[in-house]
């Protein structure tokens, strides 16, 4: 009886060991095998010409190589990408074959501001990884009244001016928020004229001297400076961005009040802090099987950290800021959700103060 019992116990233990080994092997193996030969659709809620689309298309062949899947990039820019984000959130079959590549700003800000038509919850997406974005820089007309010998002199000229005009696109966009914070931080007598059609519209207005300043992602601002059309003054941040060490930060010229610090933390991506940064991220719908989420997280981080991929990004965009993992993005989303109420209240106050 004793022998029988110990024999059965041994068999049971052995069976448990074998089964757990098989399961773990088959889970990771099954996720990897799952993607072989399949078509993965990556929705991009922006136009085919957008930066995020270009990065997605650069990354697609690397993803294909690792997974053996075929990638189809699908642009759905209608209504600023909102229907596409809602659709992936409410996907009927979250099987991991439909993903989204999107800027975090558009995704999170829209939700945080309770924009009409938003049907998703940012905390419920499965974030798979991303490429860190840049901060935002204020530029003025090249050779104009505010283009002085050094940044400090330019800022002084801005502070002395009456009715400095900033141009912006949407009131809820990150560059516009960066402008608002700059106005408060520098105590400018300034107004923001919103409604310009994208960075091209703002650049044209700046070149025509219809507006005095605008705000763009740093890389875009540097490109426009190189083309001779604008002068980059400062990064809207406490400290310089390590990737762009030559670009002065606003924090070098002015001491931030507590209110400004709060605004900066809530509204402006901090390029030196991955937790608070803007990024181009990849996500899977809620309900995607956990093993596939884990597999996709590892795969996308492998793609983004591939030296060849980074070289290609640098060749196109002149820089590569870094990567952020899916787990970090998940935490960032949760932090954003926690401070949603405060963010909304700060934003509304700021809007009343500065938007014309």
């Amino acid at each position: 009886m004793k022998k029988l019992f110990s024999g059965m116990l041994a068999i049971l233990i052995l069976a448990a060991l074998v089964l757990s080994g098989c399961t773990s092997t088959s889970t990771s193996g099954s996720a990897s095998d799952f993607y072989k030969g399949k078509t993965v659709t990556i929705l991009v809620p922006n136009t085919p010409a957008a930066v995020v689309t270009r990065w997605c298309r650069l990354a697609a062949p690397y993803f294909e190589k690792i997974t053996g899947a075929q990638v189809m990039v699908q642009n759905e820019p209608a209504a600023a990408g909102l229907p596409a984000r809602n659709r992936i959130y409410g996907a009927d079959k979250p099987d991991g074959l439909t993903l989204m590549f999107t800027p975090s700003g558009g995704l999170w800000q829209t939700w945080a501001l309770d924009e009409p038509g938003t049907e998703y919850d940012i905390t419920k997406f499965n974030y798979l990884g991303g490429i860190l974005g840049t901060g935002f820089a204020v530029s003025v007309v090249a050779g104009g009244a505010y283009d002085k010998a050094d940044t400090a002199a330019s800022i002084k000229a801005m502070q002395d001016a009456k009715g400095f005009k900033f141009g912006a696109s949407g009131a809820a966009e990150l560059p516009t928020m960066a402008i608002m914070v700059s106005i408060v931080a520098l105590e400018l007598d300034a107004t923001i004229t919103a409604g310009y059609k994208g960075s091209a519209g703002r650049l044209l207005a700046l070149t025509q001297k219809e507006i005095d300043g605008m705000c763009n992602p740093v890389d875009s601002a540097m490109r426009k400076q190189d083309s001779g059309q604008s002068k980059l003054l400062f990064l809207v941040a406490q400290e310089r961005d390590k990737v762009f060490p030559d670009v002065p930060a606003l924090g070098e010229f002015v001491k931030f009040s507590d209110r400004v610090k709060k605004l900066m933390k809530a509204m402006i991506p901090d390029p030196n802090n991955p937790e608070g940064s803007n990024s181009q991220l990849v996500l899977a719908p809620p309900g995607t099987p956990k093993d596939r989420v884990e597999f996709l997280r590892k795969t996308w981080m492998t793609v983004f950290e591939d030296k060849n991929f980074q070289d290609e990004v640098i060749e196109m965009s002149k820089f590569f800021t870094g990567t952020v993992s899916g787990e970090e993005l998940q935490k960032n989303a949760a932090a954003m959700a926690k401070s949603k109420g405060e963010f909304l209240s700060l934003y509304k106050d700021l809007m009343k103060q500065v938007i014309k």
Binding site: L82, K165, T193, S227, M316
Partner: protein, 500 residues
């Protein structure tokens, strides 16, 4: 400058590059024939391959595709009364009536010649305009743009045949439709009824197809047996096409004026590529000795929009290269391609990469020649479609139109909007309301509001006190009061002639 022109030409006239331009032209012309597709779709499909391509091969390919879908679109507009691309809509007004009279070959001959030459001429304009384009664009700010667009809206009076009141009502409907979506300034959604798909408004492709394609096809299928009369020129002839080609040279002054007009409209960013053809058509009608014949099938009604069509592409290209500011959806894609290749358009582009700029313009010219040749030899076969019973055409074209709209936006709501506006257009057409005025109201209304808001915001109520704005105001008043001072001026000219 001449040296750069030569270097550009040397880069283009390589066997591989020529082959690529020819292939791109062929594909684009075919896509242009299918309503709702066009060059934009082809460029979107090519964009992913730009990264790892040779710039001297891929940029000419993209230029060729972007510049030549209008030739195919003109054929569709003339033969079937359906615009192949939104920029061919004005060609329908006289092109399709010519087909119904059995003059399809002549219409096509005129269209491809005007289109082809309209693409070649701007290369030479570039010599004159390159130093001028920067100051020209810099001086057209929001106030000037608002008045320029208002001047364009004045052409409504020209485009409406018969009742001016009905024309204004049509334009008002177009204006109302243009209000759907987010208001650019305040971000408030208008007439969206809580539907997020309407936040972006209604696209020009849907409007054009709804206004022109659906009512026309419905009327045809209810009325006649085939598009063209059965006994008149049963097969398209090259002789008739040659007649159309000669027509363009006969009306060389109209062609030149409309090409220049299209080029200038193309240079100014933000006016909208589709405006150029309507402005050219309106100008042609206004300056014609028999304006009442426009819309009944006169060749000038084809020459004007088609010469402006391709000229505007060259103008838009120059601004995109000089400023990095795209003036149309097509130019946005060009800009994306440049950036992907590490080329940054801007003022330095014209000085540091002059040869490349000329190469792009020369590609537009060359591809237009190729497109004209392709259409010339392909037209007689395509013309046979006008003798197919309309019932079959209807069954073939309606799905094509729906697929064209779907391929563009992939939004089901657009298909419903297509039907709703199509039915509305049918009634408007039936009761003598001008659909051209509706289109113009739609295209220009939104733009006028955009620039007027900015002008008021930035300069206050006295925003009109700039030299260019004052000149434009005078032009607007002159256009609107032409009936008053026109006869007086004519009378005085006659007197002076008699005295001399």
């Amino acid at each position: 400058m001449l040296e750069a022109f030569g270097q550009g030409a040397a880069g283009i006239f390589q066997p591989v590059v020529l082959l690529v331009i020819l292939a791109g032209t062929f594909v684009s012309t075919i896509l242009g024939i299918i309503p709702g597709l066009g060059g934009v779709l082809a460029i979107v499909l090519i964009l992913p391959f730009v990264f790892r391509a040779d710039p001297m091969v891929i940029l000419p390919l993209i230029s060729a595709i972007g510049a030549t879908s209008y030739a195919g679109g003109a054929m569709c507009a003339i033969l079937l009364g359906v615009p192949g691309t939104p920029a061919n809509a004005a060609t329908i007004l006289d092109g399709f009536p010519m087909t119904r009279k059995g003059e399809a070959s002549r219409a096509i001959g005129a269209a491809i010649t005007a289109s082809g030459l309209g693409g070649i001429l701007p290369v030479f304009f570039a010599f004159l305009m390159m130093p001028l384009v920067i100051p020209f664009v810099l001086n057209f700010r929001s106030a000037e743009m608002a008045f320029l667009i208002l001047l364009g809206l004045c052409f409504l009076a020209v485009l409406t045949r018969g009742s001016v009141i009905k024309g204004l009502i049509s334009a008002g409907i177009g204006l109302l439709i243009s209000c759907i979506g987010f208001q650019a300034k305040t971000g408030v959604p208008r007439f969206a009824f809580g539907n997020i798909y309407l936040y972006d408004g209604i696209s020009i492709t849907v409007i054009i197809l709804a206004i022109f394609a659906l009512p026309l096809l419905a009327e045809l299928s209810a009325g006649g047996k085939s598009v063209a009369p059965p006994n008149k020129y049963a097969v398209g002839t090259y002789r008739q096409m040659l007649r159309g080609i000669v027509d363009v040279f006969r009306h060389w002054w109209l062609f030149l004026r409309c090409s220049i007009l299209g080029y200038i409209v193309g240079i100014i960013p933000g006016v909208g590529a589709e405006s150029a053809v309507w402005v050219a058509y309106g100008h042609a009608k206004q300056s014609s000795k028999s304006p009442e014949k426009f819309g009944t099938g006169v060749v000038e009604g084809i020459i004007a929009p088609e010469s402006a069509n391709n000229a505007k592409e060259a103008g838009g290209m120059l601004t995109t290269l000089a400023f990095g500011i795209p003036g149309s959806g097509m130019m946005v894609l060009y800009l994306a391609a440049f950036i992907m290749l590490g080329i940054d358009p801007g003022p330095k582009m014209l000085t540091d990469h002059t040869a490349l700029c000329f190469a792009m313009l020369q590609t537009i010219a060359l591809s237009n020649v190729f497109a004209a040749v392709i259409c010339f030899f392909g037209a007689p076969f395509l013309i046979k479609i006008t003798h197919v019973p309309v019932v079959y055409l209807f069954c073939f074209l309606i799905p094509i139109v729906f697929i064209g709209v779907w391929a563009y936006s992939k939004i089901v709501l657009d298909l419903f909007i297509l039907v709703i506006i199509g039915v509305l257009s049918l009634f408007l057409r039936r009761y003598g309301y001008s659909l051209s005025a509706l289109i113009l109201g739609f295209i220009l209304g939104g733009l006028f509001e955009y620039y007027l808001w900015h002008a008021l915001d930035l300069s206050g109520v006295l925003f009109f006190l700039t030299p260019i704005s004052i000149i434009l105001i005078i032009a607007i008043v002159a256009t609107l009061t032409q009936n008053l001072w026109g006869p007086v001026v004519k009378h005085w000219f006659k007197k002076i002639k008699r005295l001399s």
